[in-house]
Structure formats: C-alpha cells, structure tokens
C-alpha cells in the first residue's frame, strides 16, 4: 500500500491512538458539562475505524476516509457519531482526485459545512464548530491567499483550532448537551472542540512524517491568521 490512501490509513491509526491516550481526559471534560461519554464514544469509534481502514486492500484516499467515517458513524452512539462520521463520509467526495493542497482545502470546507449543517450550531455555541471554523478558515487562507506550503498551513490551522478550544471555555454553550446547563456551562472547555484539536494535531504529525519534513515552528499563541496586518495587505 502506498500513496495518499496509505497516508490516510496512517492518519486514522494515529488518531485512534491519540484518542485512546486522551480518553479519560475527554471523558472528564464531558462529565463536567455533558454525559461523560465522549472519551469512550470516540475511543471506540476510532479504534474500529482504524481496524476498518487497515482491512482495506490498497485503498485510495477517498475510500479510506469514507470507510473511517462510516465506521465512526455506525459505532459512536453520541453526537460525535453523525458529526465526525457523517461529515467524513460526506466530505470524502472531495478527495476523489487524491490529496493535494487544493483538494485538502475543499475537503476541509465541505467537512465544516456538513458539521454545521448537521448540528445546526453557529460559531460561539460552544461546540466543536468553534475549533473547526477558525482552523478551516486559516487553512484555506494560508493555502489560497498566502500560498504557504501545506505543512505550514496545517500548523497554523492547528494553532487556530487551539484558539477555538480556548474560546469555548468562557462562552455559554447554546448547542449540544452543555446547553442544558445554561450559565453553568461558562468556564468549561468543550470536549468535542478538544477532540477536534487532537485529531488535527495527529493529521499534522502524520502529514509531517509523510512530507518527510519538520513541523514548522509557528507560534501557536499568535497565529498570523485573520490578523490586522493580513487584512490590510
């Protein structure tokens, strides 16, 4: 197995390992503002997804992503099932021609659209959308406008996701189970935003290994994206 498909398989496996490692932390986050199952949901779903993609015979990237998504969709009993799994299945169509910077942007945008569509959550609702939206915006601008190399774009996207995760802490949740808590959701980090960040970090690591290069040293605390200078250019 080689090429884009193999990279996707490696990425799914890396995500599965990472989620397994963060399982208890994700569950703790979900226990504060939800039903304490996000770690278990995600660990189970991604472990199954890793097995499913490993079983594919020399898949292309689209097939591997679609298989991972279908498995997560079937195996995860919580909101993460349709949100992660369903959106991966849907967005996999953008990878028909393999993984290039352009198809990666299209994939990211389609994935975001599907998550927003399925969950009906705007930015600021205290969900995974808060991590995903700045990440996708940053990735797109970095590739399309700033013409940065893919790894650098992805690094900035990860930093953007991190900012999004932090943004969920001080804001009142208005979607998902955390919204049941009303004001009591303020001060809590969203589990789904957090797992979105972990997944992106793994994508970056796998991409770096694949592109055989170091992860660029981008300052996560001040990502350059939608900042004043860039806007004025």
């Amino acid at each position: 197995m080689s090429g884009d498909g193999a990279v996707v398989v490696a990425a799914v496996e890396a995500v599965a390992d990472r989620i397994q490692a963060e399982r208890d932390h994700l569950t703790d986050l979900d226990s504060a503002i939800g039903d304490a199952d996000h770690g278990g949901n995600m660990a189970r779903g991604w472990a199954e997804a890793a097995e499913a993609v490993a079983d594919l015979a020399d898949p292309d990237a689209q097939t591997a992503v679609k298989t991972a998504g279908k498995t997560v969709l079937s195996e995860v009993g919580g909101a993460a099932g349709p949100l992660y799994g369903g959106s991966l299945v849907f967005a996999s169509q953008e990878l028909e021609g393999g993984v290039t910077p352009e198809t990666a942007v299209a994939f990211a945008e389609t994935y975001l659209e599907k998550v927003q569509d399925r969950g009906d959550a705007s930015v600021g609702a205290g969900t995974m959308v808060d991590a995903l939206t700045p990440a996708v915006h940053t990735f797109k601008k970095s590739i399309e406008t700033d013409e940065l190399p893919p790894l650098e774009a992805l690094t900035k996207a990860v930093a953007a996701a991190e900012a999004g995760v932090q943004f969920t802490v001080p804001i009142r949740a208005s979607k998902g189970r955390a919204s049941y808590l009303g004001w009591r959701s303020v001060g809590h980090q969203d589990p789904g935003a957090t797992s979105t960040l972990y997944i992106m970090e793994e994508l970056l690591a796998v991409a770096a290994g694949h592109l055989d290069s170091e992860v660029p040293d981008v300052d996560a605390s001040s990502p350059t994206i939608p900042d004043a200078e860039a806007a004025e250019e």
């Binding site: 039903d35 199952d37 949901n41 969709l73 079937s74 995860v76 009993g77 919580g78 909101a79 993460a80 099932g81 349709p82 949100l83 369903g86 399925r118 969950g119 998902g176 189970r177």
Partner: protein
C-alpha cells in the same frame, strides 16, 4: 398505513414508549430504535435505518426523537432511507401517542400524522 419510529437514547425508553403508543395505535406499525446497540445509552444510525425499513409499508414514516444525537442520527438514517420519512418536532412520548392515534385515521397522510405529533406540544397536563 403511515408508520412510526421512536428513537431514544435508552433502549428501554424507546421500547416502553412504543408500548404506550401502541395501546392507542391499532394496526399502526411502530418500531423502537433505542440505545446505541451495545446496551449503552446513545443512538445508532443502523438501528434507526432498520426501524425505518420495518415501519415503512410505503406510506411514509414519522420519526419521534428524544434529544441530541437522536435527531442527528435520525437525519442521517432518513437521508439513507429509500422512502419518505420525517422527524416530528414534538416531545417523544407524547408525540408518539398522538401520531399513533392519528395514523389510525382512515384518511391519514404523512402530513396529517406529523401535524398531530407536533400538536402534542400543546398538551396541558395539570
């Protein structure tokens, strides 16, 4: 006949809601899709898909959901379903009872059954 599917995070809840609705539902096909399939609290798109097939005799299906992922997984299952199905914007148990009764009307349509399910929000209990 218009069929019903009841989606809840709890298998017992879905099964029990079907029991309550069936009391008034005559021959209405009513299927439960509760729990995530491993005895855990949650919802599962494959269970919902199977329930849609079982409840659909060609006249469409009204889907009653409890919360959160039940809604999203029901949407996914409906998109994959070969036939008409609609999620009712109603409380799950009360909507199911109303819909079950509405489905026994000889003039029932998918629309009339959804409408009756959604009228359940107006039920006063006290």
């Amino acid at each position: 006949m218009v069929g019903l599917v009841v989606v809840s995070h709890s298998r017992k809840a879905a099964d029990g809601i079907v029991e309550v609705a069936a009391e008034m539902g005559g021959d209405t096909p009513i299927e439960a899709a509760g729990g995530d399939g491993d005895g855990v609290i949650g919802t599962n798109v494959d269970r919902i898909s199977n329930a849609l097939v079982a409840a659909d005799d060609g006249d469409g299906v009204v889907v009653l959901v409890d919360l959160g992922s039940a809604v999203m997984n029901a949407e996914v299952a409906i998109e994959m379903h070969d036939g008409e199905a609609v999620i009712a914007d109603s409380p799950v148990l009360e909507g199911a009872v109303n819909a079950a009764v509405a489905a026994t009307d000889p003039n029932a349509t998918l629309e009339s059954v959804v409408e009756q399910a959604e009228a359940a929000v107006a039920i006063d209990k006290t």
